[in-house]
Amino acid sequence: MNLMQAFKMAFKSIAAKKMRSFLTMLGIIIGVASVVIMVSVVQGQNKRSMEYFEAMGDNKIQVYAYQRFETSGSVSGLLYEYCLGMQDLVLGVTPQIDVWREITIRYGAKSFNTNDWDRWEDRLSVVLGSDQYGVCNNYTLGSGRELSFLDIDKSNQVCVLGAGAKAKLFDFVDPVGETIFINNQPFLVVGWYESIGLDGWNELDNMILLPYTFNRTLNDNQQITQYVVKAKSAAATTLSIAKLKAFLGGFITDDNGYYDVSSNNDWANQMQEQNLMQSLVLGAIAGISLLVGGIGIMNIMLVTVTERTREIGIRKAIGAERKSIIVQFLIEAAVICGIGGAIGITLGCMGALIAGKFLLQGMILWPSMTITVGAFTFSVVLGVVFGLYPAIKASSLQPVEALRAE
């Protein structure tokens, strides 16, 4: 008996018992679908966070420094001076300030409100930074110029627009040289940035950058506590962090304040480890459900063997070898698992797409080939492994004993 014929027979006997075959498959279907969905979601999330880090740029050092009784701006000034002193390691330094107070932005007839949370995707925001804000945050200039040291020193009423803010205020017109009104104060647009191009992170483009000296008027003169230092390389990042910690530790103590220095690199690594952990845990859970599905198959196959003892007897009486009977039952189990696996993969892909749409901001989550092929292979192997015992049991009967069964 050839393999082709054995497959045909398996399909026939599965088709003859559609309901039971489907119920048997159900365990595998759910198991495979959940493996595919879970691993896809974790991978998608991983990809998304990595995309974010890439767009934000690596070797980025976040500095948090807070000093009680500080005379305004002194940390900023000291940090700026210090970073200038390690130009071999550092590309730039900037305060990183989001303005949370309500601000109106107007150009011609168009007016936006920064606290328009109902339309948060279209919301414009105002950020404050130095002449090195663009370098530190991975922005590239579209046209015009960056803020200058003089703009900051003199509190010049100038601004640089993100791509989203430019589009919302000016459509396709080049905004350089135009004047916009921020809280009714005229600000000259000196440049604009290209889009960061990161799906789901519109706020990175919907921003207007002003010299950080406007912290006094726009942000109630709150202390500046957050900075970004952009290092030249991964090695420079590690070195810079150590130096910055030592520097800040020199004048900020537990008694008069708090500081923290960390890099995106650490964060990214940590995130990656976390994601790996997540995939392993979720994969294991899904794997257990597959295993349970496999045991279900074994149960059904054992019942099937008992039920079909007579059939086995008939087959033996007309010339089936032990081997043929084993192969027949194994192929049946493998085909059931294979079909179940295929249905599971289909459902899993659909589930992953739906999960991507709702959980990951419309990301198109297409399960990777590795998972798909892996899950399918695993389910077929499962069928063979769990079908083996029933198959051997079925084949070892004497024909006459099998024929006696009712």
Partner: protein
């Protein structure tokens, strides 16, 4: 000599109080091309005899030589080949596979034999035609009468052209008219040279066989040739 058994025993629960001697030292020779009825009351051991002769069961002791080969020492693979190519079985309960149609049932032994896919259907249809069932090839057993099912079973038994047909109460579940039809087919096969072993408890049917072997309590109590009207 086609079938030669010497001192054959089939003993269940040997040595215990519940010991049953289904075959108790049976010796029998059957030549190629004979028509033999094996008769006896139920429990006489005639079914056990057929199971052992048909390699469906193994004897406890004794020698069984089939067509010059000692069967008692053969492995599963060779026994399967004998059941497939040397012997065709016809059972009282037809024993067709319910999930397959008549044609697929008849094709089954050809598949196990390894007949090429291009010949199988033709051979199976020819076998069905011999029993007058070629017009029901695509019916399932559940869509056929008992007599029709038994004819399909005969077609399956003869599909590989085995030299021996063993029929265990082939008419037992049929009314007398369809029963006669089945016997007619067996006689036809006999005329063409097939060796027929017919197991029955019905003396009326036994009376129409050229040779009658009578069993009682696992022993042969008579073995006689007789004249029959259909030859």
């Amino acid at each position: 000599m086609l079938i030669d058994i010497k001192d054959l025993y089939k003993i269940y629960n040997e040595g215990q109080e519940s010991e049953v001697r289904a075959l108790d030292g049976v010796s029998l020779q059957i030549d190629r091309g004979e028509f033999v009825a094996i008769v006896g009351a139920s429990g006489s051991g005639k079914s056990t005899m057929m199971n052992v002769l048909g390699c469906l069961d193994v004897p406890t002791r004794g020698e069984y030589v089939l067509n010059g080969t000692s069967v008692t020492s053969l492995k599963d693979r060779d026994l399967a080949r004998i059941r497939n190519q040397e012997i065709g079985f016809i059972f009282q309960g037809y024993n067709l596979l319910q999930d397959l149609n008549a044609l697929d049932n008849v094709i089954l032994p050809l598949i196990y034999r390894g007949t090429s896919i291009f010949e199988r259907e033709e051979l199976a249809m020819a076998a069905l035609a011999r029993v007058g069932m070629d017009d029901r090839a695509h019916h399932r057993p559940s869509q056929m009468s008992g007599g029709q099912q038994q004819r399909v079973a005969i077609a399956r038994a003869i599909a590989t052209h085995p030299p021996i047909i063993m029929a265990d109460e082939p008419t037992g579940a049929l009314d007398s008219k369809t029963g006669r039809h089945v016997l007619t087919i067996l006689r036809q096969l006999y005329r063409e040279g097939t060796t027929i072993l017919l197991i029955t408890h019905d003396d009326g049917i036994a009376a129409t066989a050229p040779r009658v072997v009578r069993l009682s309590d696992g022993k042969i109590i008579s073995d006689a040739h007789q004249e029959v009207d259909w030859l």
